[in-house]
């Protein structure tokens, strides 16, 4: 065919309508929920594992449990080919897991901060003490 017949065929030799058609097809597939939301489920699983690593079981057990339950639901919905439900459950599991992680990290930071303050207080008390009494704390004395 000549360029006159197919004016959309540019000098690059690529029909630029192809990516358009592909993206339209992908968009339609996404809207219809026809593709299994494997990415959403694996992203949720990563988020749950991150929360566990951040010790969410200790600091945010409720949110972690919600995330784990929804992840399990998402997986069984995926097996049952209920992709719409699987996507929603996976997305909610990810949000719950991210919250569990954020809460756990926040609490760890507060705890760490309190420990630092306590250590400093102890150190200050030790250094302020003029009488050479033997120290009772396990904190190493600076100076």
């Amino acid at each position: 065919m000549t360029d006159k017949v197919r004016p959309y065929k540019r000098e690059f030799g690529i029909d630029y309508r192809v990516p358009l058609i592909w993206s339209a097809a992908v968009a339609l597939a996404g809207c219809a929920g026809a593709t299994p939301p494997v990415d959403a489920v694996s992203t949720a699983e990563v988020a749950v594992n991150r929360a566990i690593d951040a010790r969410a079981a200790q600091h945010a057990p409720l949110e972690l449990r919600l995330a784990q339950e929804k992840l399990e639901h998402a997986k069984s919905s995926l097996n049952e080919e209920d992709y719409e439900a699987a996507r929603r459950q996976a997305e909610q599991a990810r949000a719950d897991a991210r919250l569990a992680e954020a809460k756990a990290r926040s609490q760890s930071a507060s705890q760490h901060g309190e420990e630092v303050e306590q250590t400093i207080e102890t150190l200050e008390r030790e250094s302020d003490r003029n009488t050479p009494k033997p120290t009772t704390t396990t904190v190493p004395v600076i100076n």
């Binding site: 949000a95 930071a109 507060s110 760490h112 901060g113 630092v116 150190l123």
Partner: protein, 115 residues
């Protein structure tokens, strides 16, 4: 294409149009309880200077989820997106709390070293 400008209408017609639009948006806003909760949570977080300063990205993500929830038509999807938005706000709040706690710990150890 037919275009309609507000100044083409008579004052009363434009007032009626604006009033009905306001009524419609108010009806949409109050329709879904989950969405209302998410909107309230987001507004409260947005007015919190600590969250705005320490967790702008998480707050922005929550806002995006909220806007999607507001635009969704299917009720189940609205509930779902509103849930994500509300969780997003809580994530922003927790992240801000972490940053503040970290800054505090660093500040106290710094002042202890210099004193």
């Amino acid at each position: 294409m037919l275009t309609l400008h507000v100044h083409d209408l008579t004052p009363w017609a434009s007032r009626a149009l604006i009033f009905s639009m306001a009524l419609m948006s108010a009806a949409c806003a109050t329709e879904n309880a989950a969405l209302q909760r998410a909107q309230l949570a987001y507004e409260q977080a947005r007015q919190d200077p600590e969250i705005r300063r320490e967790a702008p990205l998480a707050l922005h993500e929550a806002e995006q989820a909220l806007r999607q929830a507001e635009q969704a038509s299917d009720e189940e999807e609205v509930n779902h997106l509103a849930y994500l938005a509300e969780r997003g706000v809580e994530i922003a709040r927790a992240e801000a709390g972490r940053k503040t706690a970290e800054a505090r710990a660093e500040g106290s150890s710094r002042s202890a070293i210099t004193s």
